[in-house]
Symmetry: C2
Subunit: 295 residues, 2 copies
């Protein structure tokens, strides 16, 4: 399948899978469930779902198992966006071209939507198999929890909040982003690979190196887009990092060096995959997609 067709195909599969695991909007409490669906459905590039499926192609994983992995990581991602947009965090009004959850509903609902989407991610992994064994499934749950928690994504957010108005070194910026964005991207890849047959130690190491590069790449490009694009193109408020005086790869490295760094990360990510041959094709295409996306 051509990459652009595969992209649309996986995005549609993920939408269908999320729709199936989210409680219907007429199940009590209705408003909470409606708001959860508003937050999690109908938008987003689904990069984490795509990465889970791409990693699954390394290990011949079944698409149905990858759908569950994709759901779990996208639910965690969706929860983090809802909470990140709250007034006490980034106070953002626009997300994926729509009003953010606390604007469309209210703050209390947005708080509970995030809380419940996080729970649902773990519930999906407790109810549907990603791995073919129960112990493998527990490993999948552990990977997701590690990535989402205080030493992963939530910790990265805490560092991000504390960094507003401060100057960070390049190393500190990397430390933050490996957690804030990188941890969940890594989990998507490792969980996707875990859905199929066992991976050799060498392959797992390569996938982990790829994950680190692609996680940083995603963030560097995000920072470049935030500095360069307009709000209509992004579907979220552009220029907000500068407005909130947050350190970014653009503010720390400058635009030109940030672009160079992105190309370097892309090349490294692809080099890491070279020995995997054809099975690594989707992962290489994904790295390229992440590097050259326009939103």
């Amino acid at each position: 399948m051509k990459f652009s067709d595969w992209l649309t195909y996986i995005q549609q599969r993920t939408e269908t899978a999320l729709d199936a695991v989210l409680p219907a909007a007429n199940v009590a409490p209705d408003r909470l469930h409606e708001a959860m669906r508003y937050a999690a459905l109908g938008g987003g590039k689904r990069v984490r779902a795509l990465l889970a499926h791409a990693a699954g192609s390394l290990t011949h994983a079944r698409p149905e198992q990858l759908d569950r992995a994709a759901c779990a990581v996208e639910l965690i991602h969706a929860y983090s966006l809802v909470h990140d947009d709250l007034p006490c965090m980034d106070d953002d009004k626009l997300r994926r071209g729509k009003p953010t959850v606390h604007v469309e509903y209210d703050e209390a609902t947005a708080l509970l939507v995030g809380d419940a989407l996080q729970t649902l991610a773990f519930q999906v992994l407790a109810e549907y198999s990603v791995s073919t064994t129960a112990s493998g499934q527990i490993e999948v749950i552990r990977l997701l929890a590690e990535a989402a928690g205080s030493r992963g994504m939530a910790g990265g957010q805490a560092i991000d909040v504390a960094a507003a108005g401060k100057e960070l070194t390049r190393e500190e910026l990397e430390f933050m982003h490996l957690r804030k964005t990188g941890a969940l991207i890594r989990a998507a890849l490792l969980i996707g690979a875990r859905a199929g047959e066992g991976v050799s130690e060498d392959r797992r190491r390569r996938l982990d190196q790829y994950a680190k590069r692609v996680g940083l790449l995603y963030q560097v490009v995000d920072d470049i887009l935030d500095a360069e694009s307009d709000t209509a193109t992004l579907g979220k408020t552009a220029g907000k990092d500068a407005a909130q005086d947050k350190p970014t790869y653009v503010s720390v490295l400058g635009l030109q060096e940030a672009r160079r760094f992105a190309e370097e990360l892309l090349a490294e990510a692809n080099d890491t995959l070279a020995p995997l041959g054809e099975r690594g094709a989707r992962l290489r295409e994904m790295a390229d997609f992440i590097a050259h996306r326009a939103f």
Copy 2:
């Protein structure tokens, strides 16, 4: 062991177990980890931990396994309190006799503390065995996720928020509280029992009936205490239900009928356990403790 000694013993075990699973305050991000410890350690009656241990005595579960079950449910409970106290929810300043997390730290930190405590609950269950089998462990994770999510605790909170200023029928109040408080209490009991040897269908059914009674009992007594006690005794703001115009068992039934209902629930809980004999002793003591506690 005398009940009051057992109470202290389990409370101390739970504190030690929570201390061990919470990241140290000098692990980066330090402030987040310090605030997570502030929220989860050093206080509370640990009712859910006690119930998990009491249910474990039904099935001869090992105390170490019950500690992990206790940690997981107490972490979910702690997260829910931190988020419930936020300005967009109950806007409370005092909890367990100390300033609430957003008062002691800030709102963004409190949001992330709650988020990360929830994740940690699932991480504990992915890293440490409660059940002796991997498939049993997944069942434990499923029980916790069901109880915490939008059809459980978070859903109950959403109904609670929407109920401010409204009149609820007794049935609607029960529907809300079975979710808001009852779901996690039920999970504590079922997970505690799951830690030991298998339970017969009859015993599981009895435990479930007991759980429903005790969950409601806890809330009825909470409503009575909120109406009757002062802030110093409760360690949290007293009279806040009335101040926020929230329906409670006291506002719906009146104080006298609420007291009568509590005694009825206590008697029913104990009747349910009667056929279990000596093994149900701790559960009966716990029901009595929940009914007659002063805070």
